[in-house]
């Protein structure tokens, strides 16, 4: 969601509409929510989720730092500083969540492993090194608008199933989405396109992120399809 009064630039408005159309026409599944809706979600899945998330945080911090190095000007650097700060500030809460779920500290950043657990860290690393500014920013928009609603729905399902989870879990996964950050992300997409980035590639980047967010949930669900 963007702010009510926000209007993206003309190139980006088209991309946002096209992404919404692709998402509606060919939605990417969320294996963790599928389990929850089938009544088969267990605390072990949530432990896996936190384990995957710990690894993603490190890759995200590296990626946003790399992107600042590649695009050290307004408005791009400000966006990547803000999203890096978001991850950095959230990290202690995630570690507290991991401890509360009884994940041994020596397994932090190492478990679970395999292609699904490494999919999102891999993509964000690749994008940081190879993506255009519009690729990176529209990919981030896809990330923010897929991940946060997924977390919110997960908490609803956890509540409905009456799963016994520590309060640190809800503290980490509730809220988080920022309309202002979404607005800023789209401003950077427009900036990239106006300065020559290919909008078709930016759209492909966002859909690739959608697919990888799907794999992120699958890694937690243990359904590495």
């Amino acid at each position: 969601m963007t702010s009510a009064s926000y209007k993206p630039g003309p190139h980006t408005a088209t991309l946002v509409d096209e992404l919404a159309r692709l998402r509606a026409g060919e939605p990417v599944g969320n294996a963790l929510l599928d389990l929850a809706r089938a009544g088969r979600l267990e605390v072990e899945h949530l432990r896996r989720l936190v384990g995957v998330e710990l690894q993603c945080h490190i890759a995200e911090l590296t990626a946003y730092g790399t992107l600042i190095g590649r695009f050290p000007h307004r408005p791009a650097a400000g966006l990547f500083l803000d999203v890096g700060r978001l991850v950095y500030d959230a990290h202690p809460k995630l570690r507290a969540c991991a401890f509360a779920l009884d994940i041994p500290e020596e397994r932090f950043y190492r478990w679970p492993t395999g292609p699904a657990a490494h999919a999102f860290p891999g993509l964000i690393s690749w994008t940081a090194l190879h993506g255009s500014l519009a690729d990176a920013a529209f990919g981030l928009y896809a990330d923010l608008t897929a991940y946060f609603p997924g977390c919110s729905e997960l908490l609803t399902q956890v509540g409905a199933l009456d799963l016994k989870v520590p309060e640190e879990f809800a503290a980490y996964y509730e809220g988080g989405e920022s309309e202002e950050m979404n607005d800023n992300t789209l401003d950077v997409v427009e900036h990239g396109i106006v300065h020559g980035d290919d909008p078709a590639r930016a759209l492909a980047s966002a859909r690739t992120v959608d697919e990888h967010i799907g794999r992120f949930w699958a890694a937690a669900a243990g359904s590495d399809g």
Binding site: R40, P115, G222, G225
Partner: protein, 237 residues
């Protein structure tokens, strides 16, 4: 599988990797498709698109490896990647890939597994880990590609000679051994190798996904729902 501090040598690490391969082999689905003679131009196009995507990522990864670790093996690796990219430029038209279609289009996680994992590895691994990951990549990709070339030569489906030769050439002789020199150097400098084998195993699984991406639309893949791990996982408790 953790590697304890008493086993800090290259042979121990590669031995554990080989043992994992033996216990739990990773299928090469593209090879199986070629062997069963159920492949065509679409499969070759998907395969070559994956090669282009990966060769370009490798050029970045090996250049960054040079900058971060200043070891000569990255020069050899980059020469391999540049040569591959050059060969792929001449192969591309044979399967109907133009410049634009080589670069555009969303790529599913399996198609991104190798470029993504290598990009992650160069940014996050110490030199021993990165060396073992690259060793696993060279060994699993090189072996698989030579088998694919052999199968293409006896298949009734006609494959352009340049493509067969590309896969028959595989990985340059001696490169895997040189990469192990990087691993040894990392060990000698005190790199933590406790997760090296596990990461190398993930690399091999990613190569399996790489071949898989050339044969099947990923979203059609069957899903499992049990919270079980895969072959590269250890028990978290």
């Amino acid at each position: 599988m953790d590697v304890n501090s008493a086993e800090r040598n290259v042979e121990s690490l590669t031995g554990k990797l080989v043992e994992l391969r033996r216990r739990n082999p990773i299928p090469n689905l593209f090879l199986e498709r070629v062997k069963s003679d159920r492949f065509g131009r679409e499969d070759l196009r998907a395969l070559i698109r994956g090669e282009i995507r990966t060769a370009e990522a490798e050029m970045t990864v090996y250049a960054l490896g040079t900058a971060l670790h200043r070891h000569e093996v990255f020069q050899d690796l980059n020469t391999m990647a540049v040569d591959a990219r050059s060969h792929l430029s001449s192969i591309r038209p044979l399967v109907g890939i133009d410049d634009e279609s080589a670069e555009n289009g969303a790529v599913g996680p399996d198609g991104f597994a190798c470029p993504g994992f290598l990009s992650w590895a160069v940014l996050h691994c110490n030199r021993a880990e990165l060396g073992l990951v690259m060793y696993a990549d060279l060994e699993s990709y090189g072996g698989g590609s030579r088998e694919i070339a052999d199968a293409m030569q006896v298949a009734s489906t006609e494959v352009p000679e340049q493509i067969v030769r590309y896969y028959a050439d595989g990985v340059p002789d001696g490169l895997s051994s040189k990469v192990l020199g990087l691993v040894q150097e990392g060990i000698d400098r005190g790199d933590d190798v406790s997760r090296a084998v596990r990461l190398a195993r993930v690399m091999e699984e990613c190569v399996g996904r790489y071949w898989q991406a050339a044969v099947a639309p990923e979203r059609n893949a069957p899903e499992r729902n049990a919270p079980e791990g895969n072959a590269s996982e250890g028990d978290p408790r």
